[in-house]
């Protein structure tokens, strides 16, 4: 067949028009992930913290009240970006907490497996610009960084966390804070504050491409992971807010979340065994704890402020109307830090890391702040437990999907949803085909998540049916969801290592254990959990496993193992000489 020049021109123009039209139709995606943000930490979920930017998103989109993640960050991030169960994507726990006996297994390295494909790779393959600014924590070797996993522009922290004011590790298992820019080690600017910096970089990435291709921007904030730090102007707004303490705050948020329809009006709430008696504290102690929480609120507020800057920028540059926003947290609130952070031992430990926790400077550069288990329970109100535990407080977090391409009015959904659903949802929003058996010539593990696109548009009420069973395990804490039911097992020190059965739709606070009343349901769910564990290669944790202790052991081994080996060899040599000397 021979085409005339006119026909070729017309065909080319038509193709270009179709491409341009397709790109206009394909929305930009902004995926925002807070770190350790509790279920009721934003205003539209019952918080007293001012989050107008997120409230605006919630007011024009759908807020999910029964959305679950893993109870720890890296497994959530791996599932979020791949739609694959954490036991099959290589990250069943944070690498720092995986026992050595498990690390020999291919899927227990704590590094995102090459047998899964990220949503960024799929979107990049579909012509999207793909950006990431924030915490990665899915591998720190050169070919494990996001730059090699589908993101074309990146500024990323490879570790569990880091200081928010400077390039400094927050715990001694790290020699330095490992930040990378486009796959190369980088140095942070002098005026660094994490939330501000990450949004600045995102805006810079977005503005760097003026073509018509849509973009996918993944923004995993450091906020509000420890160390809890915030600019004074944000913290000062909350200095008087928490004077009544954690129990009053937990009750206040429960009341508010009922008013907002986030939980049923008759939902009960339990008091965690790790919650201390506020009234037994001295006035000085109350003042200190209230400031700890005020800084946390300031950090959430600052994150919201910078999200608002991004939204404003997208509006100013004409991109907003074609952008879908997805906001969530990686797990529930973080209880680390105890309720006595001013003890001599704590302060000495902080000093050794170059930190202080004096009242006056708390939250600023050089200070180390946490909220401890009692305020963490308030941040997870009205749910039980918090980060690391399989209780709702560790796994249920806010999820907002908003943007003009989907909706322009507020909706609430209490449908069960899981973190593996986010990648399929983004693929559907962007009309990107899900991978089949192979991607890039490599056989890949198929996604298990379900798209929430129809749910977001109000076309369906549920994406999981009564016949669907969703299993979960992390560090020996485990759960299985089916319909409104959930079986859950939490290990110590807060849990009892026994299975319990709850109806988490009617009873999100997990106050009414149904295992005695519904033994058949318990047996059925247990059977399905064991099936899930077998199919996904879940390994039993050692009997005495403790996540925090394991982090310390692995950290010492990774950071000081070689030095310890040198000292051991030196000691052996010197010991032999000493024995010979004594015998002589």
């Amino acid at each position: 067949m021979r085409l005339s020049p006119q026909a070729v021109c017309i065909t080319l123009l038509a193709t270009l028009f179709n491409l341009a039209h397709a790109d206009v139709a394909r929305p930009n995606i902004v995926l925002i992930l807070a770190d350790d943000l509790g279920f009721s930490d934003i205003a539209s979920y019952g918080s007293e913290i001012q989050t107008p930017s997120l409230d605006a998103l919630a007011a024009s989109g759908i807020s999910f009240t029964n959305y679950h993640t893993a109870a720890s960050c890296a497994p959530t991030r791996a599932m979020l970006l791949t739609g694959v169960d954490s036991h099959k994507n290589g990250v069943p726990n944070i690498p720092e907490s995986i026992p050595p006996a498990h690390q020999v297994h291919e899927n227990y390295r704590g590094v995102l497996s090459r047998n899964v494909v990220t949503v960024a790779s799929l979107l990049q393959n579909a012509g999207y610009h793909t950006y990431m600014a924030g915490k990665w924590h899915l591998g720190k070797a050169r070919d494990e960084l996001p730059y090699r996993r589908g993101f074309s522009r990146t500024i990323t922290l490879a570790d569990t966390g880091a200081d928010n004011w400077e390039q400094k590790p927050y715990i001694p298992i790290y020699e330095k804070a490992n930040w990378f820019a486009d796959g190369e080690e980088t140095t942070l600017p002098e005026d660094f504050y994490s939330s501000e910096f990450l949004i600045d970089k995102t805006i810079e990435f977005i503005d760097s491409n003026a073509d018509s291709q849509p973009f996918f921007a993944y923004i995993p904030f450091q906020a509000v992971h420890i160390p809890v730090q915030a600019p004074k102007e944000f913290t000062d707004k909350y200095l008087d807010t928490y004077q009544q303490g954690w129990t009053a705050l937990r009750e206040q948020r429960q009341k508010r979340s009922k008013e907002l329809g986030i939980i049923p009006a008759n939902a009960e709430m339990q008091t965690m065994s790790s919650t201390h008696d506020w009234d037994s504290l001295s006035a000085e102690e109350k003042r200190f704890h209230a400031k700890r929480m005020a800084i946390y609120a300031g950090m959430v507020d600052a994150m919201d402020h910078h999200i608002g800057r991004l939204v404003a920028h997208l509006k100013a540059t004409g991109r907003y109307d074609n952008t879908i926003f997805i906001f969530s947290s990686d797990n529930g609130s973080e209880a680390t830090g105890g309720d006595n952070p001013r003890s001599l031992l704590n302060r000495l430990g902080l000093r050794m890391q170059g930190y202080t926790n004096d009242y006056d400077t708390l939250g600023s550069k050089g200070s180390f702040n946490t909220i401890g288990p009692s305020f963490a329970s308030a941040a997870a109100s009205p749910l039980a437990y918090y980060k690391f535990y399989a209780g709702e407080g560790g796994m249920r977090v806010p999820l907002i999907i908003a943007g003009k391409p989907i909706s322009d009015k507020a909706k609430l959904s209490n449908a069960f949803t899981f973190v593996t659903d986010i990648t399929p949802t983004i693929l559907e929003f962007t009309s990107t085909p899900a991978p089949t058996e192979f991607f890039g010539g490599r056989r890949i593990v198929p996604m298990i998540g379900r798209s929430l696109a129809a749910l977001s548009r109000g076309e369906v009420e549920q994406v999981y049916t009564e016949s669907d069973y969703i299993g979960y395990e992390l560090g020996g804490n485990a759960a299985l969801f089916q319909g409104p039911y959930k079986i859950v097992k939490n290990r110590g020190p807060v849990g009892d290592s026994e299975w319990h059965l709850f109806n988490i739709v009617d009873d999100p606070g997990e106050t009414n254990d149904l295992r005695e009343a519904m033994p058949d349901k318990l047996a059925d769910l247990l059977e399905h959990y064991h099936q899930y564990a077998a199919e996904n290669g879940v390994l039993d944790v050692p009997a005495n496993f403790n996540g925090t202790t394991q982090v310390a052991i692995n950290g010492i081994r990774d950071r000081f193992g070689k030095q310890l080996l040198v000292l051991l060899l030196t000691s052996i040599i010197c010991g032999v000489f000493y024995i010979l000397y004594r015998r002589k």
Binding site: K562, Q563, L567, L569, T570, I573, C574, F577, K584
Partner: protein
């Protein structure tokens, strides 16, 4: 007094062993501690073998001197340390290397200490 001298002499021996063994276990850190990059290929082989052997041998010879009481065991490490100090001066004066007065001082002091030990400790064993 002699016991104190033995302890003082044992300290650099232990330090030399640590530095030498570090070349075997963690060569990147060992190279960094001596202000040099870790080389690749044959360069890394020579770097690890020569530097590691030097330090381990010095440590073992000093310990052997303390164990046997033979003065000759102290001479070799003392000679190596004096030569190291001399070569540092040559490197600085002729070849543009950085001046390292603290390291030169340590090498001369420890070398001298070993010579003193060869007299004091060997005679008393």
């Amino acid at each position: 007094m002699l016991k104190l001298l033995r302890i003082i002499v044992a300290l650099p021996a232990i330090l030399f062993l640590i530095i030498g063994l570090q070349w075997a276990v963690d060569p990147a850190a060992a190279a960094e501690s001596l202000g040099m990059p870790l080389l690749d290929g044959l360069g890394r082989s020579s770097q690890m073998a020569d530097t590691g052997a030097l330090f381990i041998a010095m440590g073992l010879m000093i310990l052997s001197g303390l164990l046997t009481g033979r003065k000759t065991w102290f001479y070799a490490p003392a000679l190596m340390l004096f030569l190291a100090a001399a070569l540092r001066l040559i490197a600085w004066l002729i070849h543009g290397a950085a001046f390292a007065p603290d390291l030169i001082a340590v090498e001369i002091v420890v070398g001298s200490l070993l010579l003193i030990s060869s007299q004091k400790l060997a005679d008393k064993q």
